[in-house]
C-alpha cells in the first residue's frame, strides 16, 4: 500500500526525481562495488569479447537463427545455491559457443513466490523460461494465454528434445490441444502411505497398518502402552493432512478433490457429492472415535508443528499418510538422532491398487508470452536436458569440487553448510534426465518403494484437468470460510453429534453456493473426461 503512493508520486514530483536519479546514479555505482556484486557484472564483459569468435563456429546445428547474441532470462522457484554465479559463468561459456546466447538464472525465493509469479507473467517483463507445475497453476496460466504454444517451435528449435520426450507425455501436458510446457521425463511417485514407529509396534506386538482398521488398532495399542506419546501426528491442516488422506485410503478417489466432490477412480464419469453423504457421516464418526479415544490431541486445530517434526522428536507415533521421499528423510534423520528407533511404511497403492506416477504436468518449463527469444530459449532448454555437460553441471555442480561419484552413488563433498552447490541445488527438478541421474546412497529406500509401485502402476487421470473457477469465484471464497468454520471441527472429531454437525455444515455450504460450484465443476470435469477419452 505504502509503496503505491510513491509510484504515483514519482509522476507528480517529476522534477525532484530527475535530480534524485542523477544523484543516486553516482551513489549507486559506488554501492555496487562495496557489496561485492562486481563478480556478477564481470562475466558479461568477458562474454562480449569471446562473442565474435563464437558466432562463426556455432549456430549451424539447429535450424534456428543464432546470428544475434541474446541473454535469456531464466526463472526458477526457491533460493539460489551459493555457487550459482560460477555455475552460470560455466554454463554461459558453453551456451555462447553453442547457441550464441547467455543465460541469467533468476530465483524468486520461497517468500510470496506465487505473487511474484503473477507479476512476472502479468507485467510483460522479459522472461524466457519459467518453471511450471500443477501446484504453480500451470493449467490455468496456460488457459489464460500466459505461455507461448510450443507445437510449432519444438521440431525446429529443439528436435532432439522433441523426440526425447515420449509422445504420450507431450499429449498429456496439452491444454486446449496445444503444448505449453516441456515435461520432465523422470518418473516418481508422491503417493501416500502409513508411517509408524516400527520399534514400538514390535515391542507391543501390534498389527502392521495396511488399512484403516489395522491402523486404528495400532493407534489404540500405542495409546494403551505409551501414555506420553500421542498416537497420531496431526496439525491444524486437517483438510489435507487428515481427511484427504483418510479418504485416499478408505475409498479410492481419482485424486484429492475440492468442494466435497466425489469421483471414484474406477468410474471417472460418475460424479457425486461426498459431502452430506452417508459415507462422510461414517468417516467423520471414525474421526470422532479417534478424538474421543485420545489418538490425536484435543487442541489439534491450534497445532502448527509439521507432522514429520512430531515423529522425529518422539512426540507422536504415526502419520496417516506421507510420501516415500519424505518418509525416507525421516528415516535418515532418526538414524542420526535416535538410532534405536525404527520406522515402518506401507504405501496406500499396495492396498487400493492406485499407484499413479506423477503427471507430466507436475514438473516442466514454459516460455512466457513476453519472451522474444522463444526459439533460442527452447534450444537452450534442450541442451539442459539432453546434453550431459549442461545437465550434470546444473544438477550436481562441479565434479571434484561440489560432489564425487563413489560406487555409482552421488557423494557430496563437505556438508550442506560448506558445500556451495548441494545435489539438485538449482531446484532443477524439471530438467532431470534419468540417463544421467546420480542418487545419494540414502535414496535407495525410496527407489525400492518406487520399484514396488512400478509393478502396479496405473495412469493419473486427475492432474491433467484444469479447473476454471472464474464462474464461481465468489461462492468459492464463501465456501472456504464455511469449511473452516463448520467442517474442520468435524474433521478433527470435536463435534458431539456428527449427523447434526454435517447437517448444519451442509446448510451453510448450500447458502454459500455449494450446489452451483459442484454443478459447474461437474460440467467441466465431464467435458475433460470426454475430451481426453478417460474411462
Amino acid at each position: 500500500m505504502h509503496m503505491t503512493k510513491k509510484a504515483a508520486k514519482a509522476v507528480s514530483m517529476f522534477l525532484s526525481i530527475i535530480v534524485l536519479i542523477t544523484v543516486l546514479a553516482a551513489c549507486g555505482s559506488n554501492n555496487n562495488g562495496n557489496s561485492g556484486s562486481s563478480a556478477t557484472d564481470a562475466p558479461k564483459d568477458t562474454e562480449g569479447t569471446t562473442n565474435e569468435g563464437a558466432t562463426n563456429e556455432g549456430g549451424e546445428k539447429s535450424g534456428i537463427d543464432t546470428s544475434k547474441k541474446v541473454e535469456l532470462q531464466f526463472y526458477m522457484l526457491g533460493d539460489a545455491p551459493k555457487d550459482i554465479a560460477s555455475i552460470q559463468e560455466q554454463v554461459n561459456k558453453m551456451a555462447l559457443e553453442d547457441l550464441n546466447a547467455t543465460v541469467k538464472f533468476n530465483y524468486t525465493s520461497w517468500t510470496d513466490w506465487d505473487q511474484k509469479y503473477k507479476l512476472l507473467l502479468g507485467s510483460g517483463q522479459q522472461v524466457d523460461l519459467i518453471f511450471t507445475a500443477d501446484w504453480t497453476q500451470y493449467q490455468s496460466y496456460a488457459k489464460k494465454g500466459a505461455f507461448q504454444a510450443l507445437d510449432k517451435i519444438l521440431p525446429v528449435a529443439a528436435p532432439t528434445l522433441n523426440s526425447y520426450v515420449p509422445a504420450d507425455m507431450w499429449e498429456a501436458v496439452k491444454i486446449d490441444g496445444q503444448i505449453y510446457t516441456v515435461p520432465a521425463t523422470y518418473k516418481e511417485y508422491v503417493t501416500d502411505g502409513f508411517v509408524w514407529r516400527e520399534d514400538l509396534r514390535e515391542k507391543y506386538n501390534l498389527p502392521t497398518p495396511v488399512d484403516i482398521a489395522t491402523f486404528e488398532q495400532y493407534l489404540d495399542g500405542i495409546k494403551k502402552n505409551e501414555p506420553t506419546v500421542t498416537p497420531l501426528s496431526m496439525n491444524s491442516d486437517v483438510k489435507t493432512n487428515l481427511m484427504d488422506r483418510f479418504i485416499g485410503i478408505s475409498h479410492s478417489p481419482v485424486g484429492a478433490l475440492p468442494y466435497g466432490i466425489g469421483i471414484d477412480y474406477a468410474t471417472p464419469n460418475e460424479v457425486h457429492s461426498y459431502w452430506g453423504s452417508d459415507e462422510q457421516v461414517q468417516d467423520l464418526t471414525v474421526m470422532k472415535r479417534w478424538q474421543d479415544n485420545g489418538y490425536m490431541v484435543k487442541n489439534v486445530l491450534a497445532v502448527k508443528d509439521t507432522l514429520q517434526d512430531q515423529i522425529t522428536s518422539g512426540k507422536a507415533a504415526a502419520i496417516i499418510g506421507d510420501n516415500p521421499t519424505r518418509y525416507n528423510d525421516m528415516v535418515i534423520k532418526i538414524q542420526a538422532t535416535h538410532p534405536d528407533w525404527k520406522l515402518g511404511y506401507h504405501p496406500f497403492p499396495k492396498t487400493n491398487g492406485i499407484a499413479t506416477p506423477v503427471h507430466p504436468i507436475h514438473n516442466g518449463f514454459a516460455i512466457p508470452a513476453s519472451s522474444k527469444n522463444a526459439e533460442r530459449a527452447l534450444a537452450f532448454y534442450e541442451k539442459l536436458v539432453t546434453d550431459k555437460r549442461y545437465n550434470m553441471l546444473t544438477q550436481y555442480g562441479v565434479e571434484g569440487k561440489n560432489y564425487e561419484v563413489k560406487d555409482g552413488y552421488y557423494s557430496m563433498i563437505g556438508d550442506s553448510n560448506s558445500n556451495g552447490f548441494p545435489r539438485e541445488g538449482m531446484n532443477g527438478w524439471a530438467w532431470r534426465n534419468p540417463e544421467y541421474m546420480l542418487f545419494d546412497k540414502n535414496y535407495d529406500g525410496v527407489k525400492a518403494i518406487f520399484d514396488e509401485l512400478d509393478k502396479i502402476q496405473v495412469p493419473d487421470k486427475f492432474t491433467g484437468f484444469a479447473e476454471d473457477y472464474t464462474p464461481y469465484q465468489a461462492e468459492r471464497a464463501a465456501l472456504e470460510q464455511v469449511e473452516k468454520q463448520y467442517l474442520f471441527p468435524l474433521n478433527a472429531g470435536l463435534v458431539k453429534n456428527v449427523e447434526d454437525g454435517v447437517k448444519t455444515f451442509m446448510e451453510k455450504a448450500k447458502q454459500a453456493g455449494l450446489e452451483k460450484i459442484q454443478a459447474e465443476y461437474t460440467k467441466q470435469w465431464q467435458a475433460y473426461v470426454t475430451e481426453q477419452g478417460i474411462e
Partner: protein, 297 residues
C-alpha cells in the same frame, strides 16, 4: 500539605505501581519467552512447548542463522546502507519540500500540495508500480530500488509541512529576509534549526521504514547479496516452512534438517537488536514532535 496528601498518595502510588508492574511483565513476558525459546533445542520445543527457562539448552537456532555469516553480515550491510542513505537523503528532500510548501509566497503551492495529497488517496496499485520500476526505470536488482521509493512519503511531507508552519513563524522568515538572507540561508540556518523535533520524528519514521522494509527486496531483488536483513531472515524462515509443506505434494526434499522453531526465535532477537538501541536516543524528540505538530502553542 504533605500530611494531608499522604494517605491518598500512598494508595495512588501503590495502585500505579501495581498497574505498571503488571503491564511491564505483560510486555516483557513474550520477549523473555522468545529469548528462552531461541536457546532451546528445537526438538524440546516441539515435544514440551515453550518454557521460560529452556528445558534443553542449545545454540542451534543461532548456529543456523549464522550458518552463512557472510550472507547475514551482507544483509546487515545492505540494510544499514539503505537506512543511512535513505534517511539522510529523505530528510533533506522532505524538509525542502515541507519548507517550500508552507511558504505563502510560493505561487504553485496549492497545486503541488494537492498533487502530493492526492496520491495518498489514490494509489496506482501493485502492478503498475511493479511495471514502472522494472520496465521503465529498470531498477531490478539495483540498490537504488531499495532507497528511491521511500524518499518522498506524502504523509511525512505533509507532517513536515505542518510542523514547519507551526514551528517557524512567518515573521522570523520575513525578518531574516530583511537582514539579507536568501532562501537557502533561511532554510539551512533558520528552518532546519527550529524544526529539529520534527526532523527527529520524520527521521525516526524513515529509519524505521528502511530498517523494517522487506517488501521491496521481495519484489525487485533477485541477487541474494542485495537482500535486506529483514527479507533475508524472513526468507530463511519461509524457505523452511515452505519446503516442509511442499514436500507433501511434490516429493521434493532438500535433505538438510533445520531447527525451525528455535531458529525463528533466534532471528527475531537478531533483527530487533539494533533498532532497540536507536529508539531511546530519538524517543524524547519523537514524543515532543508528534504533539507539537498538532497543538498550537
Amino acid at each position: 500539605m504533605k500530611i494531608k496528601d499522604d494517605n491518598y498518595m500512598k494508595w495512588f502510588r501503590l495502585i500505579a505501581f501495581i498497574v505498571i508492574l503488571i503491564s511491564t511483565v505483560a510486555c516483557l513476558f513474550p520477549f523473555l519467552l522468545i529469548i528462552s525459546a531461541s536457546f532451546t533445542q528445537n526438538e524440546a520445543i516441539i515435544r514440551d512447548g515453550y518454557h521460560l527457562i529452556p528445558t534443553v539448552f542449545s545454540f542451534e537456532g543461532y548456529a543456523t542463522v549464522f550458518r552463512f555469516p557472510k550472507q547475514v553480515l551482507q544483509a546487515y550491510g545492505v540494510t544499514t546502507l539503505t537506512t543511512v542513505i535513505g534517511t539522510t537523503l529523505g530528510l533533506f528532500l522532505m524538509t525542502m519540500a515541507g519548507y517550500v510548501l508552507q511558504r505563502k509566497d510560493f505561487k504553485y503551492r496549492n497545486f503541488f500540495a494537492f498533487m502530493i495529497y492526492f496520491t495518498t488517496l489514490f494509489g496506482g496499485g501493485l502492478v503498475p508500480w511493479y511495471i514502472l520500476m522494472t520496465k521503465y526505470l529498470k531498477l531490478t536488482d539495483k540498490l537504488e530500488v531499495l532507497i528511491l521509493p521511500g524518499l518522498m512519503t506524502p504523509f511525512l511531507i505533509i507532517l513536515m509541512k505542518n510542523f514547519i508552519r507551526s514551528a517557524v513563524p512567518d515573521e522570523v522568515i520575513e525578518s531574516a529576509k530583511i537582514d539579507g538572507a536568501n532562501d537557502f540561508t533561511i532554510y539551512s540556518r533558520i528552518v532546519l534549526q527550529l524544526s529539529m523535533p520534527g526532523i527527529a520524528t520524520v527521521g525516526l519514521f524513515l529509519a524505521l521504514h528502511y530498517w523494517n522494509d522487506w517488501f521491496t527486496s521481495s519484489l525487485f531483488i533477485n541477487d541474494t547479496t542485495k537482500y535486506q536483513l529483514q527479507y533475508y531472515l524472513y526468507n530463511v524462515i519461509n524457505a523452511m516452512s515452505f519446503v516442509a509443506q511442499m514436500g507433501s505434494g511434490t516429493g521434493v526434499s532438500l535433505g538438510s534438517d533445520m531447527p525451525t522453531e528455535s531458529t525463528k526465535m533466534a532471528m527475531s532477537i537478531i533483527v530487533t537488536g539494533p533498532i532497540l538501541f536507536l529508539y531511546p536516543f530519538v524517543q524524547r524528540y519523537f514524543v515532543k514532535g508528534l504533539t507539537i505538530g498538532a497543538v498550537k502553542g
